[in-house]
């Protein structure tokens, strides 16, 4: 399959690193508004053609799949142009700025048997897949509740709160935090299904150009409840996913390799905390070493979910089988995101 990318920044490099390893995938073009960015990424990855005009790229290299890896405000127009050229679209989160735009894209794609896949990469991280497997095998029991909490410093130089260069994500309702909502929602959706009710609190703790730096939401889904949170001030950086089942509780930090499980055990009840604690300690020590060594190994590191998702997506497209992220998933996740957005527009 012929792949092309629009947007050649940091996240595009992660896509290209993965695409290079996929059998049967040929990277035929990259595009960026900055000629030097486009040319350098083409030189670096051995891509035969680079462009600054995405329409010219679509016309000339005729890709089967287009990765849209630009800032979110441009996703809708670029994804629509790619669909109109007859290509499937793999779009970075958030897929669109508004839910109406997403519906329009999905409708257009659906009528033409084209696919739109939003990058729900953390759903495919090793730890998330492991927990999903524990759910499927009955180890966790029925899922009761899911907790998803990201703590990430957004105030560093050159980041979302840089007062010198306004970050494009600040155009989203909710500002920079809205850029992360699809990650939180896609994980909750994976374990509790589509939402029925949702309520969110958006607050601001620190003076900055961010409209909000704290978000906490509660969701009732088809199969359980979830709390979703983002804090730009709580430290250290972490991405906690905790799944509470009727028989066990799984916990992982998706920025690292830590995955632990506390479960009901046979035998004397007073010994349960001891056994769980010893097992957890062992897992945490092993993960600490694994996280450290991962930095020295080639490969996807924290992007292992993206690599898994891209591999699965290309395989499904080639074989005509079900995608890892279906249009229904994209729609349901973004409905949840929509329900959690702040009521008033970002100031």
């Amino acid at each position: 399959m012929r792949a092309a990318l629009i947007g050649a920044g940091q996240i595009a490099r992660q896509h290209l690193n993965c695409l290079k390893t996929l059998p049967g995938v040929q990277i035929v073009g990259v595009c960026d508004l900055s000629p030097s960015v486009a040319e350098s990424i083409a030189e670096r990855f051995g891509v035969p053609a680079w462009f600054t005009d995405h329409a010219a790229m679509l016309r000339e290299v005729k890709p089967d799949v287009v990765h849209v890896t630009t800032p979110p405000t441009s996703h809708f127009r670029l994804a629509m142009d790619a669909l109109q050229s007859g290509a499937h679209v793999l779009v970075e989160k958030p897929a669109t700025v508004t839910f109406a735009e997403l519906e329009q894209l999905l409708h257009y794609a659906g009528e033409r048997q084209l696919m739109i896949v939003e990058d729900h990469n953390y759903v495919f991280n090793h730890a998330t897949r492991e927990i999903a497997q524990w759910v499927d095998s009955g180890k966790l029991g029925a899922v009761v509740h899911v907790e998803v909490l990201m703590t990430l410093d957004l105030f560093g130089p050159g980041g979302f709160a840089d007062p010198n260069a306004r970050h494009p994500a600040l155009a989203l309702a909710g500002g920079a935090l809205a850029d992360f909502l699809p990650h939180l929602a896609s994980l909750a959706h994976r374990f509790i299904g589509a939402h029925r009710r949702a309520h969110a609190i958006w607050t601001k703790r620190r003076p900055s150009i961010l409209p909000y730096d704290e978000f906490h939401g509660v969701v009732e889904g088809e199969r359980g409840t979830a709390t979703l949170g983002f804090s730009a001030t709580a430290q250290p950086d972490a991405f906690w996913l905790r799944v509470f089942g009727e028989r066990a509780q799984a916990s992982t930090n998706l920025f690292e390799t830590r995955l632990t499980c506390e479960r009901l055990r046979d035998g004397l009840k007073p010994l349960q905390p001891l056994k769980n604690g010893l097992e957890e300690g062992k897992a945490v020590r092993r993960a600490a070493m694994g996280t450290f060594l991962r930095k020295f190994k080639p490969g996807p590191a924290t992007y292992d979910g993206m690599w898994h998702l891209l591999a699965g997506t290309y395989q499904a497209l080639a074989q005509g089988t079900v995608l890892p992220v279906t249009p229904e998933d994209v729609l349901a996740v973004n409905r949840m995101v929509e329900a959690l957005k702040p009521v008033e527009a970002a100031s």
């Binding site: 920044g9 940091q10 490099r13 900055s34 000629p35 030097s36 960015v37 350098s40 030189e43 670096r44 051995g46 130089p157 050159g158 007062p163 010198n164 260069a165 306004r166 930095k295 020295f296 190994k297 080639p298 590191a301």
Partner: protein, 328 residues
């Protein structure tokens, strides 16, 4: 002469502004919107224009009545992509804006980082090869960004017929900037000095700024590429000793022969580290060489072309770096 100086409030920029003023020129300083220029203490004669090269759409007005652009702005921290966006795309925006103005003269601050250190033996000078092709992407983000910045500046200059001077400073040092990547590897209070007798390609920030100001005003610099070093350079062992004393940091120096350290890095990189370029610079051979390879340096071309001699000797540079601040 009116000079537009980008990165004017940076480490080198502040000295370049001072040198331009001292040599009788008018300075327009381009600084980021949130920069507190009051703290810098520039004289009122310095014109301030605000803009961020990463996002400013309207940079052309900054070039009004400007005779020379002294382009110093570059990111020295952050991830590879952030450095590229800031340094290279920023330069692209700046020069695109310049193309619509009457300004035709540029002095670019490039870097020793653009050289292909692996391919250089003996003396590094302006004729030494620079890193190009896919080999460049094995280097660190700073080297990639500075190489591309120089590349696109040369392209713009050729396309528009501009008069370009490229200055490539070695390690720029000065007050609060005494510690250099070339000094080896520090672990706690222990400094592993790789190649203790290796010369450092040093240029004190005030010497470096003096050459920038002279090159901007001297037509003999047009079309030239000049390395900026103060001379053959102090040796690492002695320089680090001055740093440890001067900064009050203290600690212990442990000498390691360069060939032994580099041999170990090459062997580890090719075997257990599996040629992984995500590793810290000290573990990637081409980056290790760019930091610590023992070479010789000269400022002969700047001497011959512009008659330039660094105005400050090493003792005065040390005093300005570690001595009491003037006026305190």
């Amino acid at each position: 002469m009116r000079a537009l100086v980008t990165g004017a409030n940076g480490f080198l920029g502040q000295s370049v502004v001072a040198a331009l003023l001292a040599q009788g020129h008018t300075v327009r300083a381009l600084v980021r919107p949130a920069t507190a220029v009051e703290k810098i203490g520039w004289p009122a004669a310095v014109e301030i224009v605000r803009g961020d090269l990463r996002s400013a759409r309207e940079l052309a007005p900054a070039f009004a009545d400007v005779d020379v652009l002294v382009h110093l702005a570059a990111a020295v921290t952050g991830g590879d992509d952030a450095m590229f966006a800031s340094t290279v795309s920023g330069t692209e925006r700046l020069l695109t804006a310049m193309a619509g103005t009457a300004c035709r003269r540029i002095v670019l601050a490039s870097s020793f980082a653009v050289y292909d250190w692996s391919a250089i033996h003996g003396t590094l000078d302006e004729n030494s090869p620079i890193t190009s092709g896919t080999k460049l992407y094995g280097r660190d983000g700073y080297a990639i960004a500075k190489s591309w910045q120089e590349r696109i500046t040369r392209r713009f200059a050729a396309q528009h017929g501009w008069d370009l001077t490229v200055l490539r400073p070695g390690f720029i040092w000065g007050r609060d900037h005494g510690y250099l990547g070339a000094l080896g590897q520090q672990i706690g209070r222990l400094h592993f000095v790789v190649g203790p007798f290796t010369h450092l390609p040093l240029t004190h920030v005030d010497n470096c700024a003096d050459l920038f100001a002279r090159a901007a005003a001297d037509p003999r610099a047009i079309g030239q590429t000049l390395n900026v070093v103060d001379g053959p350079g102090a040796r690492i062992w002695g320089y680090l000793g001055e740093y440890m004393r001067g900064s009050g940091e203290g600690g212990f120096r442990l000498p390691v022969p360069y060939t032994v350290a580099f041999g170990m890095v090459r062997l580890a990189f090719a075997t257990i580290l599996k040629r992984n370029e995500k590793l810290p610079s000290v573990l990637v051979p081409c980056r290790f060489e760019a930091r610590m390879k023992p070479l010789r340096y000269t400022n002969r071309r700047a001497q011959e072309l512009l008659g330039w001699r660094p105005p400050l000797d090493y003792a005065e540079c040390l005093r300005r770096t570690y001595g009491a601040k003037q006026g305190t």
